[in-house]
Amino acid sequence: MTTEIVIFTVLFLIVSGMGFVASRWRRPDDIASLHEWGLGGRNFGSWITWFLVGGDLYTAYTFVAVPALLFGAGATGFFAVPYTVIVYPLVMIVLIRLWSVSHVHGLVTPADFVRARFGSPTLALLVAITGIVATMPYIALQLVGIEAVLKTMGVTGDLPLIIAFAILAAYTYQSGLRAPALIAFVKDALIYVVILVAVIYIPTQLGGWGSIFDAAQAKFDKTPAATDGILLNANNQLQYVTLALGSALALFLYPHSVTGVLASKNRDVIKRNMSALPAYSVLLGLIALLGYMAIAAGVTPIGTDVNTVVPQLFDKMFPDWFAGVAFAAVGIGALVPAAIMSIAAANLFTRNIYREYIKRDATDAQQASASKIASLVVKVGAVLFILLIDPQFSIDLQLIGGVIILQTLPSVALGLFTRWFHRAGLIAGWIAGMGAGVLMLYNIANPATNHAHFGSSAFALSKLGLDTKMTIYAGFLALAVNLIVALLGTVIAKSAKVADGPDATRTDDYTADQGDPRVHDLEVSSST
């Protein structure tokens, strides 16, 4: 145990040191602007973007929660693989257009874009609030990842968790987006090594892949639940597919994903990354299988916390020193996304609430310092969330987060291609989709965890009066409601000649690239 804790602590401290030094990395002339602090100078090339976005999307929570899903329910948990396979071809063209229009108009957040495109501060505010609400529980969940590791090492009490987050808060405050970008290198190197060793070494100890899957099958055969197993059944296939597609549609609507993309230096960097980022999807697929290895190794979770199965597996299979490295990988893996998410949430607050409603003539320096303080508030909020409220609540909220962030798709993603929608229609659609989504989630029970509400995202179609046992991803249905209402609302608003907002963008803004006269690189613009 002691060896594990020593190695974990040493690696953690080295990385924290890097976080503070990062403010000098790639020498900004002046870090007191949002483009520098919040977007790292918007000058990241292919490699840094790959590490940054990868470190951002594939979080510590993912690394403990996805195998925990396979451990508990089997094949349905593997949805993370098709989800992260389809997401890149799906968003490639969307993201390059977002990059272009953002660089022409000096936009930092998805809500900035909506403000410029549809001329509606209300719609932009809704998009900003959705983003903040969806991101907050996500940050809190990163702590759940660290907590699972600490529990396994036998470290109890809240103090270690508070210290870890205080360090994180301090260097994010100092270095902005440069800190997670630099730390992401270490985090990913550690994770790749740990996972490759795990998927090669552990199966040899457990009698090969065949017997690992046999053990999993045997476990699921014994449970009374009909939904588990190493394959999908007739009733959960639709859920599997819609959850993969819905999650893929949602991923790049999250403000922190957009932050990573906008920090890249041109369109080609983004396009190349769409081919390179799937490397992480392979890694995620292998990590998922750790859940079955845990079954075969006879690992049991600590208490009822199923998120501890992967740390428990490492503890059982690896020598102490390597288990320490593995735990550090998970712990540091939590810091990168937590930093980027808090920066993204802070940017939303500054750009779309502070500058829009509180201080309209804020200078660049004032915006940067408002963002820095907001990022502190967000992180303190996340820590309080975990310490004061049952962590299960954060998991519920994150589930809701995925469903509600999808409701910004019509204004943000479709808005990049068409200006056909009317701002009134989009607002109506957002309200309808939001209501439908939350209502559906509220009505999903999970008998296994004794939850009457917010039990999972699998909505039974029988609740709509259909004679079937099939389930579907609630977010997917909610998005359909949203789109239908937005469509009808637009038709009605247009025929009633309701005033529409002005569009500040031009067609060729969406295809501009680095080197164009209208694309300002590092120049800090106060336009829009």
Partner: protein, 67 residues
């Protein structure tokens, strides 16, 4: 200024392939044939990553702008 730029290209249709294939469970919801003892469900879905990488690479190269 030259002709207006556009993101339209027939090559973009290629991106539909890696989006559609992983969403058809009939293709992979089986145990046999296994690969190194791993059921089809798992190894085939992992290999779809290659389809995605290939499609995005082709589209990237075919839609590059001459500078």
């Amino acid at each position: 200024m030259t002709t207006p730029r556009t993101d339209r290209s027939p090559w973009n249709w290629l991106l539909l392939l890696p989006i559609a294939i992983p969403l058809i469970p009939a293709l992979f919801n089986a145990v046999e044939p296994r690969l190194f003892g791993i059921p089809l469900f798992y190894w085939l879905q992992l290999s779809f990553v290659l389809v995605s990488v290939a499609a995005t690479l082709v589209v990237y190269h075919m839609t590059r702008r001459a500078r």
